[in-house]
């Protein structure tokens, strides 16, 4: 089919939005749309026009829907969907190389007296047991004091919910075209990207299911180009520090 014809492109986009483009044709169109911004524009054109009709009247969903969304996102239960951009593995050799550097780096271990606060508590009035579990959960923490930074990043992990939270105490002094990338280090030497450290404020991801949270866990930070490591299997920039995760009391 000749996708270059403007009329045809318009027609396909409109039928994609209307929903009458189905099966293989729909899949093909989605592929094309990903590569072709003008097709995407056509699709948006229709989404906005049909959206303007405002034909769907709001209907409040039952409360339990939100509860289940929260469970699917934040709880363990084996069906957690990891929210991690990249999973990267790297050999033991690599880590031997920077082990010395990491030791020399300023590593502040924070044994935090604060327990993980149940941020969701007000949202779950009908599920006290979930809140209770969060309050009681053992957290692991690491405080990352990076070179050339005034503030520090506090990493906390709740094994129970597999939530990893990072809080920056001060805005990062990074250049615009740089990012800090956070890595999970497994006992076997493999590393997994957990995403980029927030330049300021707080940020949270879910740990991928294959990562085991325990007392010997470690995280590391590398300095990368904006957007994170360019390498396939690990940091492409210098590793600035590594820190153990310490159980909070």
């Amino acid at each position: 089919m000749n996708y270059r014809s403007t009329k045809l492109r318009q027609a396909l986009a409109s039928e994609y939005v209307a929903g009458t483009l189905i099966g293989a044709a729909r899949k093909r169109f989605k592929r094309l749309m990903a590569e072709d911004p003008t097709l995407l524009e056509e699709v948006r054109y229709w989404e906005e026009r049909f959206g303007d009709l405002g034909i769907f009247e709001p209907v409040p969903p039952r409360e339990l829907v939100w509860t289940e969304i929260e469970q699917r996102i934040y709880q363990t239960a084996g069906n957690v969907i990891p929210i991690v951009a990249k999973r990267q593995q790297r050999s033991l050799m690599f880590w031997r190389l920077w082990a010395g550097l990491a030791t020399a780096a300023t590593v502040v271990l924070a044994v935090m007296l604060v327990r993980e606060q149940p941020a969701r508590a007000p949202l779950l009035p009908d599920r006290p047991q979930v809140v209770e579990r969060l309050v009681q959960a053992q957290a692991y923490v690491a405080a990352l004091k990076l070179p050339n930074e005034d503030g520090q990043w506090t990493v906390s992990v709740l094994p129970d919910s597999r939530a990893l939270r990072v809080i920056a105490s001060e805005p990062a002094k990074l250049k615009e075209d740089e990012d800090y990338e956070l890595w999970w280090m497994a006992d076997d030497g493999s590393v997994t990207s957990l995403g980029l450290l927030p330049r300021e404020g707080a940020w949270q991801v879910l740990l991928p299911l294959h990562l085991r949270v325990k007392a010997s866990g470690r995280v590391a930070v590398s300095l990368e180009q904006a957007g994170g490591s360019q390498a396939e299997n690990g940091p492409s920039g210098p590793v600035l520090l590594a820190a153990p995760l310490v159980p909070s009391v």
């Binding site: 009329k7 318009q10 027609a11 409109s14 039928e15 939005v17 209307a18 929903g19 009458t20 189905i22 948006r44 989404e47 906005e48 026009r49 049909f50 959206g51 303007d52 009709l53 405002g54 034909i55 769907f56 009247e57 709001p58 209907v59 409040p60 969903p61 039952r62 339990l64 829907v65 939100w66 289940e68 969304i69 699917r72 996102i73 934040y74 969907i81 929210i83 941020a119 969701r120 949202l123 939270r165 927030p198 404020g201 707080a202 940020w203 949270q204 991801v205």
Partner: protein
């Protein structure tokens, strides 16, 4: 309805993993998404499942929303609509008749609830329709109905043919021509 700027900032905060923003986003928009889903899917269990899927996706993909994609609510509703279409394609086999379904008795009507009524008549009960409605009104009746049934009820060509009691080829051309004329009218 929450204003666009506020929703935009909630989406951006959600993209950074801010749970509170995500929860507020849900409070502000879930009834809009659910209204669409219950209308298209016509079953509470499907609509609730779809709503969950949508917000999981929004939590995961909030960073793919860009301000230039237009109004945030439009984007959110698109997420819901495409999810509903996917579910309909999987769960409602083409040309399915209620009698053939095991749950026949509990199955809601697959078609317009007000049979014979122009879907547009129901559309007119709500607001904010002006321009698009004008253009839709200019379409021949069959084209208009085919487009609206496809869009708002998630009908495939085959289902439209059954519903509108017309040959498949005819129905396909109603949709195609209807959309093309709509496009011309909107661009005028």
């Amino acid at each position: 309805m929450a204003d666009a700027e506020h929703l935009r900032s909630l989406l951006h905060a959600t993209a950074r993993g801010d749970q509170r923003a995500f929860s507020e986003l849900y409070r502000a928009t879930s009834s809009h998404l659910y209204g669409l889903l219950i209308r298209m899917l016509q079953r509470r269990d499907w609509a609730e499942e779809a709503l969950q899927d949508c917000f999981i996706k929004i939590w995961q993909k909030a960073e793919t929303y860009e301000a230039d994609k237009g109004a945030p609510l439009t984007w959110l509703l698109s997420v819901a609509r495409y999810r509903a279409l996917d579910l309909l394609r999987v769960k409602r086999p083409e040309v399915e008749l209620p009698d053939n379904d095991e749950e026949g008795a509990s199955l809601p009507p697959l078609t317009l609830q007000d049979e014979g009524q122009d879907p547009l008549a129901r559309a007119s009960e709500t607001q904010g329709i002006a321009r698009m409605r004008e253009c839709l009104r200019e379409l021949p009746t069959e084209q208009r109905q085919a487009v609206l049934l496809a869009y708002y009820e998630g009908y495939t060509h085959q289902e439209l043919a059954t519903r509108m009691n017309a040959p498949l080829g005819t129905v396909k051309s109603w949709v195609r021509r209807g959309l093309a004329r709509l496009r011309e009218a909107l661009d005028r």
